[in-house]
C-alpha cells in the first residue's frame, strides 16, 4: 500500500500489515468477524503477485498455509472461535515441524457459535494450550487499528525468526472498528522485516533440524534440493521419526526453550500511570481501552491506579507483573483466564473483573470495580 493516512478497520489493517510484512499466500474459510481479512486478501494478494485460496474449511486452510510456508513463502490464515477450534490439531503440527505461519483469531462471544458479531476474550488460554502437548507459541494482541497494522509486521518477524506459529489475536470490536492510521513507506517497513534463516551448507551436508546456537534450525524450501522430511512424530535432526525418550526430551525441550530463552526479546507491554500506582488494572485488546478511560476517571478522584496492557500475551510477560508489589485487578471478557497468570506472578492481592461476552465493560463499571478493590 502507498504510504499515507487511511481509515481502516482492524481487519483491513491486519490484512494490509500482513502484505507489508511480505505475506504472499492466504488460505482461509470466511467467518465473522474475520471475513473482511479474507475479503481484503482476495482483492490485494493478486495485485502484489501473491495467491489467495478460499478453502473448503478451516482444517484445509491451515494445512494449506503450512504447505505454502515450506515453499518459502510467508503465509497466513484468519478465523474466529469455531474455526480456530478446528485448526488446533494442525497448529500442533506446525509447532512440531517448526513452520512459520501467522493465524489471526478475531475473538467473538463463545463457546460454540456464540455471538458471531460481538466481542469475547475467551480464547486467550486456547491460543497457548489449544493443541495437545506441552509447547510454546507466540501470541500478540493489539488494541487499536494502527497497532494492528504495526504488530502484524512483528507477527511475521516472530514466525520467521523462531520458526513458530504466531497467533495474532483480534476481537470482534477491534476487527470491525474503524480508525485512521498512518502507513509508513514500504522502504521503512522493509528495514525491520526479518526473513527466515536459510541453510548455509549445500544439500547432503545439512541436517534439516539441526539448530544453531539460538536453538532455531535454518529452513530450506521445497525444491531447493534439500531432502526434507517433516513429520509430526518425534524426530531427530535429520527429520526422521525417532520414537524414543531421548529424542522426545531433546526435541520438545528445544521447541519450548527457543521461545522461553528469547522471551525478553518478544515481550511488549504498555504501562500507563503504573509508576506510583497502588492498584494496577491488567487488561488487553479492546477491553484495555475502557480500562484506560476508567484509570483517567479514577485519577481524577485521587485514586492511585494504573493500567498494564500485555501486547505480547504469550509467552506471558511475567516479569512486568512481578516488577510491582501492588494489587492487581484483572479486567477481561471471559470468566478468568489472564487472571490465573497474573495470580501466579503477583505478590499482592489479585481480583478478577469478568464479562461473559458481547460487550467490553463500560469505564463506569471498571471504575466501580476499582473503588471496591481499593476500599
Amino acid at each position: 500500500m502507498n504510504a499515507g493516512r487511511y481509515f481502516w478497520s482492524g481487519d483491513i489493517a491486519a490484512a494490509e500489515g500482513a502484505i507489508a510484512a511480505g505475506c504472499r499466500f492466504y488460505a482461509g474459510y470466511p467467518i465473522t468477524p474475520s471475513s473482511e481479512i479474507a475479503e481484503r486478501m482476495a482483492l490485494r494478494l493478486p495485485q502484489v503477485g501473491g495467491r489467495f485460496i478460499e478453502m473448503e474449511d478451516e482444517i484445509g486452510s491451515i494445512a494449506a498455509i503450512i504447505g505454502a510456508s515450506w515453499t518459502g513463502v510467508k503465509a497466513m490464515t484468519a478465523t474466529a472461535g469455531p474455526g480456530i477450534s478446528l485448526m488446533n490439531e494442525n497448529i500442533g503440527l506446525a509447532v512440531m515441524t517448526e513452520v512459520p505461519i501467522v493465524i489471526v483469531n478475531a475473538m467473538r462471544g463463545a463457546p460454540s457459535t456464540g455471538l458471531p458479531t460481538l466481542i469475547g476474550q475467551g480464547d486467550i488460554m486456547q491460543a497457548k494450550w489449544g493443541s495437545h502437548g506441552s509447547y510454546e507459541i507466540i501470541s500478540i494482541y493489539p488494541s487499536n487499528v494502527q497497532e494492528t497494522f504495526d504488530l502484524m509486521i512483528d507477527a511475521f518477524n516472530y514466525a520467521e525468526r523462531y520458526r513458530v506459529p504466531v497467533i495474532f489475536l483480534l476481537d470482534a470490536l477491534l476487527a470491525h472498528m474503524y480508525e485512521k492510521l498512518d502507513v509508513p513507506p514500504q522502504e521503512e517497513i522493509d528495514k525491520r522485516v526479518i526473513n527466515r534463516k536459510k541453510p548455509t551448507k549445500p544439500p547432503g551436508e545439512t541436517l534439516i533440524y539441526q539448530p544453531d546456537e539460538d536453538l532455531v534450525p535454518p529452513m530450506p524450501a521445497v525444491g531447493e534440493g534439500y531432502k526434507i522430511h517433516a513429520t509430526g512424530l518425534t524426530h531427530n535432526e535429520k527429520g526422521h521419526p525417532e520414537l524414543t525418550v531421548d529424542a522426545q526430551e531433546k526435541l520438545v525441550k528445544r521447541l519450548n526453550d527457543k521461545i522461553r530463552k528469547h522471551a525478553r526479546e518478544i515481550w511488549k507491554v504498555e504501562e500507563y500511570l503504573t509508576d506510583d500506582a497502588k492498584l494496577i488494572v491488567f487488561a488487553a485488546g479492546s477491553e484495555a481501552r475502557a480500562v484506560r478511560t476508567a484509570v483517567d476517571m479514577a485519577r481524577k478522584e485521587g485514586l492511585k491506579v494504573g493500567l498494564m496492557r500485555p501486547i505480547t500475551v504469550w509467552p506471558f510477560p511475567h516479569e512486568y507483573v512481578e516488577k510491582y508489589a501492588v494489587d492487581y485487578l484483572v479486567s477481561e471478557i471471559n470468566y478468568g483466564q489472564m487472571y490465573h497468570m497474573v495470580r501466579e506472578y503477583a505478590s499482592g492481592r489479585v481480583e478478577l473483573f469478568p464479562g461473559m461476552g458481547g460487550e467490553i465493560h463500560t469505564p463506569q463499571q471498571v471504575l466501580r470495580a476499582i473503588r471496591r478493590m481499593i476500599e
Binding site: 493516512r5 481509515f7 472498528m177 474503524y178 480508525e179 485512521k180 484506560r292 460487550e359 463500560t362 469505564p363
Partner: protein, 176 residues
C-alpha cells in the same frame, strides 16, 4: 471537544455506511480523532442496525457512546431502542415518515426531515442515508460540509455520484 453520535435504523438503510462516512470525514478530512463502531443482526436486510461515532480533539480510548450528543434514527424501533442513550437536551434527528415521536421527545431538541421521501423523489430511496447526513451536517456543524462531502464521494459508487451529490445538498438545504 468530544462529540458522541449514534445512528439507528434497519439493515439496508445505510446506517453503518452513514457512521463510517461521518467518522472518516472527521478523522481524515477535518483532521480530528475519530472512531467508528458498528453492530448489526444476522439478517442482511430488515434487522436492527446501529453505528456509533466518537469525534474528539484528543486520542479516543473507550470507543462506544456513553451519552450521545446526537441520535439519528431512521426506524421507529431504533427510536425506542436508543432514545435512552441520548443525553437530556441532546439533538434527535428523525426521518419523520418512519419515526413517530411521543412525549419522551420533549426532553430533546428534535429535528425532522422526510429523508426517505426526498430520496424517492430524487429517484432512489437508497440515498436516504445521504439525505439525512446532509441534514445532520447542517444541523450539527460537527463535521465541516466540505469534509462530509469528500467522505461521501470516496465511499459511494462512482456511477451514482451525481445522485448522492443531489441527496447530500437536498438534505443540507432542508435545514433553515
Amino acid at each position: 471537544m468530544k462529540v458522541e453520535i449514534k445512528f439507528g435504523g434497519l439493515g439496508g438503510q445505510g446506517i453503518i455506511t452513514a457512521g463510517y462516512i461521518t467518522a472518516k470525514a472527521a478523522g481524515i478530512y477535518d483532521g480530528k480523532e475519530s472512531v467508528f463502531t458498528q453492530d448489526y443482526s444476522a439478517e442482511a436486510r430488515g434487522g436492527a442496525s446501529t453505528s456509533e461515532v466518537i469525534i474528539s480533539d484528543e486520542k479516543i480510548n473507550y470507543p462506544h457512546v456513553m451519552q450521545a450528543d446526537y441520535l439519528i434514527v431512521m426506524s421507529h424501533s431504533a427510536y425506542n431502542d436508543y432514545l435512552h442513550k441520548l443525553k437530556k437536551g441532546g439533538v434527535l434527528i428523525i426521518d419523520e415518515d418512519l419515526v413517530k415521536t411521543d412525549e419522551r421527545a420533549s426532553e430533546y431538541r428534535v429535528y425532522s426531515i422526510p429523508a426517505t421521501r426526498i430520496a424517492e423523489q430524487l429517484g432512489n430511496r437508497i440515498v436516504a442515508n445521504i439525505v439525512i447526513l446532509g441534514f445532520f451536517t447542517a444541523v450539527s456543524g460537527v463535521v465541516s460540509k466540505d469534509a462530509m462531502w469528500k467522505s461521501i464521494r470516496e465511499s459511494v459508487p462512482k456511477k451514482h455520484l451525481e445522485l448522492n451529490e443531489k441527496a447530500f445538498h437536498k438534505g443540507f438545504e432542508y435545514y433553515g
